[in-house]
Symmetry: C2
Subunit: 335 residues, 2 copies
Amino acid sequence: MKDIARELGVSVATVSRALSDSPSISRERRQAIQQFAREHNYFPNVIAEQLRHSRRNPSRAIGVIVPELVHYYFSSILDGIESEASSRGYHLIVAKSNESYEREVQICEAMLKNKVCGIIVSQAKDTERYDHFEHLTTAGVPLVFYDRICPALNASRVVVDDYMGTMNAVSHLIETGCKRIAFYGASMNMMIAKNRFNGYRDALYKYGLTLDEDLVRICDNRADAERITPAMMHMENRPDAFFAVNDETAIGILSVVKRMGYTVPDDVSICGFTNGFRATVCDPMLTTVEQRGTQVGKEAADILIGLVEGTLSPDHAEKRIVKTRLVIRGTTRHP
Amino acid sequence: MKDIARELGVSVATVSRALSDSPSISRERRQAIQQFAREHNYFPNVIAEQLRHSRRNPSRAIGVIVPELVHYYFSSILDGIESEASSRGYHLIVAKSNESYEREVQICEAMLKNKVCGIIVSQAKDTERYDHFEHLTTAGVPLVFYDRICPALNASRVVVDDYMGTMNAVSHLIETGCKRIAFYGASMNMMIAKNRFNGYRDALYKYGLTLDEDLVRICDNRADAERITPAMMHMENRPDAFFAVNDETAIGILSVVKRMGYTVPDDVSICGFTNGFRATVCDPMLTTVEQRGTQVGKEAADILIGLVEGTLSPDHAEKRIVKTRLVIRGTTRHP
DNA sequence: ACGGACTGCGCAAACGATTGCATTCAATTA
DNA sequence: TAATTGAATGCAATCGTTTGCGCAGTCCGT
């Protein structure tokens, strides 16, 4: 700008005004300046702009904290956030917590320092203190949780309808003739685990089945599934179906029961939760609850941007629930 | 800082120096200021710092451009970049090009404006002009390519050893008794496609097999694989093995030949490339070339940071090749 | 007692933009 | 003719830091 001003024999202020199309600069001068700027491909220094506007205008950088990156669901969510954000003129600063509380705190501080306009976060598994989040809110940085929300904080959030998703899935198992349905869930201190379990329980009740504690296990990965499933199948009264908290676990079950000589879905039905890459790769293909990560991501970004731009009030915590969809494939019988 | 200065009755300059531990401020004053700052949890405004230093110091933001996010290999690379970058004090601005040239150009401009210290990029499939990249380099923003590199530009890059990876995989197929090996590759305008083909060709030569053009097809996704594979298997002289350019395609082949009643690996061997989630989910599990995306990402970040910090010269294009590893599983016979 | 060296600190100019207010000059009005 | 008005532009402060330079004051040696 200084150069332009010098070349054209005007003041920097005039250049600034001309470039922002201020009517207080005469038409000819304005156009001359604009053209000159274009020809010498001038573009404004965002840093300086931000510094000048730091009091009034937030930046256009959204911080995103992900527990891990190589993960279908989180990738989908990130994808959704990216789409929504970029189409509305925001960009993303992405960091992964590695499921570590310490790292999460560091990241929050770094993002605060880097003046993000808001943060979209899914907590690390071992996060049990929330001061770092509260710290952000009091610093005026809006926060939106996804997937793993923080029940202690009344913050905006978007989650998947774990309860209904599981309920429908288990109902489907029952309707296709299953009577003893095992449930492999995650440890109950996470909301999502609890909600899915409740969905399972209520589906059983709805159809008059009783809940057998022996059929409920904590297991949310393939290795564990392969370890504990044989014993399940050797019970005197073995399960005729499995509901797993994610596809990975379901695949573990599938591989075990196939290896043991059972036929899927006729001897044993299996249902997962995610509908990621894996679901269409196994044989038979996996019946599973579509988690719609992209949609979750979009909603989260939408809320955050709403908060930033003031169309949503920061006092009211916006809570959105994304509906799931049951995708029936080969590991369950058809109705 | 101004507040601190006022409260403690010193000048802002003194505060600044005290906070940066300058020896030109007396010990007592320095400590008093530091403590006061800590107690009132002051932290410096990065924007202002950056503005001040914009001439000399680059920012610590690395721009990352990904063609897509919901993709095992790209997720792994992003993961690698994140790990390396964050451990060295950099953060990531991530954008996805959606395989679109237009979007890629937009992103480059936006990142330039946002003053990233460098960019790590894999080109969109339809990118054929490179002015936007050259534009960045002339603007002094270092560039590192990964996966899909730009042969026209002599830029730093890190790629996987596609040639040797494929060569080894095809050799393995031959050594386990396969004689007619089909090759499903991507369109040859991408370097990676060409290198993999060359590896295939040379492996055949090495073992004295002749290359049959009928066995070479352009096919890099599951749908296409499912469409064209039946015809391949109906040839009078059908292939006894398939090498596919990625796991997804290999899975497509697997599902078709199983459905047609062939046994894998005895009737037909199959080998993929990636070693992503899918590889351990299908039945039998997929023999594939481990692509080590995380390592690629780390190397890319390492180069970029080297360039930024001046340990690597911008004049010399650093080219790194990440070794692959053949993971032998159930879709090929064992040696 | 005076020059030099050193210590500890403040002034003010930068970084690159924006913007309220003052200024200039010409045209219009009384 | 003098005053009023309006348009077009410039001045200078500001955003929050950093930093070269200069200015006091103290201490020492001669």
